[in-house]
Every structure is written in structure tokens, then in C-alpha cells.
């Protein structure tokens, strides 16, 4: 991922100067082209001007609130939006996802966390339809073409549903996947509400692929929202 030929453009919309500076420093050091805007309206103008590949948006801003900016951007902007939220404001995260954000990260975050989220979003945006044929994370190996999963070299028997869930989570690795998205993807639109069934399948899946069956390392729960496949 380092040094892409044509620099990937990232727009930061945050009213706090220190955060803008820190984010700019982290991202420009990784050869991203960084633009920064100090407010909502200014941010939307910048998005029009630069058409960035990713927007990092602070939810808590004076004036035009982050949520509004997100909704407005989503009327014409289709690249990923990563939202910065504060700890404890879980309902804000859900609202932001509903408003069209692709993921969130809780302040304060480490550079590593931020970069993982940014890469996950860019990766997904770059190849939305044709996923990589094989993903290897830790001792887990997922072969999408052959629909097979190996753990520490050992073949793992998964049901069709379980594989579909795992595949969708892994293709969105390090990115939050809402229960609704998963249900729609695996079962179809009509099943979007049946989170209990989903939890049961996830639980089975965990027993099969996790190094420790009851303490998940890969498939983490995002309470009230969904799940996140962690590669950390």
C-alpha cells in the first residue's frame, strides 16, 4: 500500500486544529495527499473542489454538525466517509452509519488504528465487486474462489451461510459491518430484522474459526451496531 503511483486524496473535516495537524502529519507521511477543512460548509466546498478518495469527518463540530455534512455529502459523493466520534456516544455512531458514513473511529485513536481503518475503506472502495481470491489473516486462510477456509493449515467445515457471513466480514476487514448489511447480503432484504438468527450463526462461526472458541479475536462484536472482522 505504500507509495501509490497516483497519490490517494484524503479530505479531513475537523474544527480542531490539533487534530487536523496530527491527521495531516500521520497521513502525509504515508504519501497520501491531504486536504483539510475547518468546518462543515468549507469541507463540502473542498470535497467539490478536490473530489477526494476518502473523507475523514468529525461528528462534533460547531455550526454545521458532522451528521448534516455526512448526509449532504452522500447526496452526490460516493467514496468512503470515515467518521470521528467520541467514546460513549454509541447512538451517534449508529446515526452516522445511517446518514451514510462507512465506518467510525473513536477519539482518541492511535495512528495504527486510523491507518488500518483508512486502508480498509480504500481497499474496499477500490475493488467493490471483485474481491481478492484469497485472504490470509494470522493463522486463518479464506479462499473465496473455492469457498474454503483453513485454520492453521487445517480445513474448517463451514455451512454455506457461515461461509457467506465470513466472506462478507473478511471482504470488509477492519470495517464495521452492520447486522442489517450482513442480513441483507446473506439472507436478502426480507430478513433485515432477524438479528437473533444472525447472532446464532456468528456464534457457530466463531466456534469454528476462532483460536479460542469463546473469546473471539477475529469477529468482534460492535454492540448495537454489528460486527467487525479484525486483522489487528
Amino acid at each position: 500500500m505504500s507509495a501509490p503511483e497516483k497519490p490517494v486524496k484524503i479530505l479531513i473535516i475537523d474544527d480542531e486544529e490539533q487534530i487536523r495537524r496530527a491527521l495531516t502529519s500521520i497521513l502525509s507521511a504515508r504519501k497520501y495527499a491531504v486536504f483539510a477543512a475547518a468546518g462543515g460548509a468549507e469541507g463540502i466546498d473542498a470535497a467539490i473542489e478536490h473530489s477526494p478518495d476518502l473523507v475523514i469527518l468529525d461528528l462534533a463540530m460547531p455550526g454545521m454538525a458532522g451528521m448534516e455534512v455526512c448526509r449532504e455529502l452522500r447526496t452526490w459523493y460516493f467514496s468512503p466517509i470515515l467518521v470521528l466520534s467520541v467514546k460513549g456516544a454509541d447512538s451517534d455512531k449508529i446515526a452516522a452509519l445511517d446518514a451514510g458514513a462507512d465506518d467510525y473511529i473513536t477519539k482518541p485513536f492511535s495512528a495504527g488504528e486510523l491507518l488500518a481503518r483508512v486502508r480498509a475503506l480504500l481497499r474496499r472502495a477500490a475493488s467493490p465487486t471483485s474481491p481478492t481470491p484469497l485472504i490470509a489473516i494470522g493463522e486463518l486462510e479464506i479462499d473465496f474462489a473455492q469457498r474454503r477456509v483453513r485454520r492453521a493449515g487445517q480445513e474448517v467445515e463451514l455451512t454455506r451461510t457461515e461461509f457467506d457471513i465470513l466472506a462478507f466480514l473478511a471482504q470488509n476487514a477492519d470495517r464495521v459491518v452492520t447486522s442489517k448489511m450482513l442480513l441483507e447480503k446473506v439472507w436478502g432484504e426480507d430478513y433485515a430484522e432477524d438479528t437473533q438468527t444472525l447472532r446464532v450463526h456468528i456464534s457457530h462461526l466463531r466456534k469454528k474459526i476462532e483460536p479460542h472458541p469463546s473469546v473471539p479475536r477475529y469477529i468482534l462484536t460492535e454492540p448495537g451496531i454489528g460486527f467487525r472482522f479484525s486483522t489487528q
Binding site: 467514546k87 460513549g88 454509541d90 482518541p108 456464534s203 479460542h212 472458541p213 469463546s214 473469546v215 473471539p216 479475536r217 468482534l220 462484536t221 454492540p223 448495537g224 479484525s230 489487528q232
Partner: protein, 528 residues
Amino acid sequence: MVSRRAEKLNRFGYLIAFAFVVMATALFYPGREHFAKAQWALLYQLIIAFVASFCGVKPALLAAALSFLAWNFFFIPPHNTFAVNDPKDWLSLLVFLAVGVLIGIQTGRLRERENEALAREKETALLNRFSAYLVSDISEIEMGNNLIAEVTGITGANCIALFLSEASGKPAEFAATPGAVCQRAPTVIELVEWVYKEAKAVGLPDITNTPDATFSAWPISVKHNATGICGPRNEIFLPLQTSTRQAGVLYIGERLNQAAYSIHEARLLVALANQAAIFLERRYLQKISIQADAAQEADRLKSILLSAVSHELKTPLSSMKAIVTNLLEGDVEWNSDSLHEEIQALQSDLNRLNSSIGSLVDLSRLEASEWKPQMEWYDFGEILGSVLADFPQRDRARIAFSLPEDLPQIRVDFPQWERVLYHLLENALLYSGDAPVHVGASATEKEVRMWVEDEGPGINPAELHSVFEKFYRGKSAANIHSGTGLGLAVTDEIIRFHGGRIWIENVKPHGARFVISLPRTPPLESSK
């Protein structure tokens, strides 16, 4: 009520006495020749006794007098005249009168006492009922409605209203007989305000001439015309007052039957009003004490926050400032290894600062009850997994866990429970050097137990209980860089919030085990 029937009997008592004697005479007259005159006298005495037992003393006396005349007129020879031939008959007549009067008085008194006793018993029962109601857990509006119902039962007035003092310092209508409007008449409101201000009752019967009215509890009472507001009326205005406070006014409109209030009725009304006032006073004091508690809690929190800011925040800040200024001093050439080391130190300070600020926010939110928990069923391991993801790889490698496969789910707020585990793990990692930290769980019918165990020095038995007090840092922690007193305080609050508890056990050969016990909610609830 008994008293109302008795009143009716009193009013018609003389008439009944008269009618009885006339009818008896009409009945006796045809049989005059068959019995001796003395036998008729006995029958007349029977009539007097009847009247006495139904109508009381005074009608009985009338009956005795009438019977005396009728017996003399119709049955003592010469007949049909009041003249008496035989002087012995004079004696009979006098004895007849004396016995008649005695029967009348004794029987009538007996009856009156019985009625009186019945009425007192009802009053006592009513007061008992009302006071029992007041000590049960009822709201002010329930009390108001009940009071109005009881007063309606006593007075028969169709407009009764309770006015309570408002923040504005004026009494406002709080409860009233359903559908009644007369309490909103301007004159009534004016009088209510007058009574409230003067703390004097209006319209109670005058007790100055009542010999047995010795009760000192009688409120200062004035007549309607003494208020200067309007002329004579038949309503009662009772102030609800305790020694410290004026709680409101009870208004009782005119009675349907227009009858004047007896002392007993008035006394009952005053007793009810006093009980209501005591109830309101108690509520008022409760409210005040809750406010005082809240204020005290806020004060306590404020001082905690102050000490937290000075200790938990300033320590890492000072350290960071020292490191950074040292690096920027410019008099030393730093090689990249020592630079890296300094920055590592900065990061650990930062983590501590972050954790402390987070805990402070959590704590103040929890204590201000601003947290709206979202309780859901989760696997303990699921939460543990998310928490572990927050620790750096180096720490994660030190954490070992053994959870039974069939551990039941727990019903918790996920993010809060994450914080609990985070703080316990952070604490265990911090106090046990490089030794492993164990996480375990078990379940019984009644509870799920979760624990975090370290191989550190353990905790001084004398300190086992104070560890969870806010900002308490163990004595052995004095020389350790980072304090987690705040974190444990947050942990304790969250666990209590979930209905569970946490305690510490020292384990052998050395180390501390933090045990959380969470009650298992009934299986019915788990199905949803």
C-alpha cells in the same frame, strides 16, 4: 350516617311521642271496663319506654306527661274528667308520673349513649382508615382524592376542594370533587387565600359554650363575617398547617341539607385535615432531604473531581512536560534509541492520561445517572474479545483465559462491561510485572462469576475493602508509575448498576483475584 337518622328522629320525636300516646289511648279506651285502672297504667308505662328507646329523653318526657293526663282523664274515676275522687288515686297518679319520667330519662339516655358510641366508633374507624391510607405508599393526588371522598362521606357537601401551596407562595386548587366548580368562585378563592395567609379556620362551629370541648387541637377559628370578605355563609375553610409550615387549605362547600355542623362532625373534619397536613409535611421534608442528598452528592463529586484533576491528570502531564522539554532542550544530541525510549515513556503517560479522563467522564456520568444503559444478552467471551483487541500485542500475550463452553449469556450493557474488564485487566497487568494474568468464569443456578487474577503481590487484607473507593491507590502501588484507583471506582459503580458485586480475594502463593458476581436473571427474560 347514624347521626343523620338520629337528627330526623329528634325532629319528629315529639310528634311520634304524641301519636303513640293518642293511638294507645284509642286502643285502650274500648277495653276500659275489662281491666283495673292500675293495669292500664302499666301499659302506658310500656308506651313511654318505647318512645324513650326510639326518640330519646325529651320526647319520652312528653310521652310521660301525656300518658299521665290520658290515664287520669280516661281511666281514673270519675271518667272523662281530670277530677279524682279517691285520694289514693292521687298517690297512684304521682307514682305513675315519677315512674314514667324515670323510665323516659333512663331508657332515653341509654339510647342516646348507644347512638353516641356508634357514632364515635365510626369516627374512629374513619380516622384509622385514613391514617392507615396515609402511611401506605401513596402520591399526593391519591391522598387528595381520598381526603375528599372521606369528607364527602361526613358532610354530604357536593363541592369539596383541596388547595395546596405552590412555589408562588399562593394556594392553588390541587384536587376537588369531580365536576364541582363552586370552589372556583372568586369569593371562595379570596377566602381560601385569606385562610392560607392568616392560618385561621373559617366556619367551624363555636366551641366556647360547649362544656366538653376541651381539646386544644381546635384551630383558631373565626366566623364568616369576621373575614371581612363576605357575609354569612355555610362553608368551612380549614387551614392545613403544621407547626413549621402552611401546606394548604381544605374547602368544604355548603351541605345539601343545609344542616349546621355538630361539634363531633367538625372535630372529625379537623382531625382529617390535621392528618392530611402531616402527610403533606412529610412529603415536603422528603423532597427537601432528597434535594439535600443530591446537593451533598454533587459536592462530594466536585471534591473528588478536584482531587482527581490534581493527581490523576497532573502526574502524567508533569511527566510528559518533563520528557518533551528535555528532548527540546537542545544541549544533548539524542540518538534514535534513546529518542525511541523517551517517546515510549510519553506514550505510557498518554495512555494513563486518556484512561483517567475516560474514567472521570464515566464516573460523573454514572453518578449523575445520565447513562442510559442498553441491556442485551452477550457471551462473556464476546465482550472479553473486544476488550483484548484494545490492548497492545505485548499485553495481550500475557492474558490467559479459561471459560467453560456452556457459560450462560449475561445481560449487560456491552460498552460498560467492556470498561469493567478493561479496568480489571489494566490493573492486573500493571501490578504483576511480567507475570501472566488469568481470566476465568463459572456459573451456578443463581449467578455468573467472572474473575481476573494476577500473580502480583496481592492486596493487604486491611485494604481489601477500600480498594474500590474513589482514588484509592494501594500502599504497595505508591512506587508504581500509573495509578488505577479511578478505574476501579468506575468498575465498582458499573457492576453495582448491573445489580452485581465485586470483591477481592488474595490467592496463593501470591496475587489478587477480582471476582465479579452477576445475578442470573430469570430464564423467562432470556427468551427475548
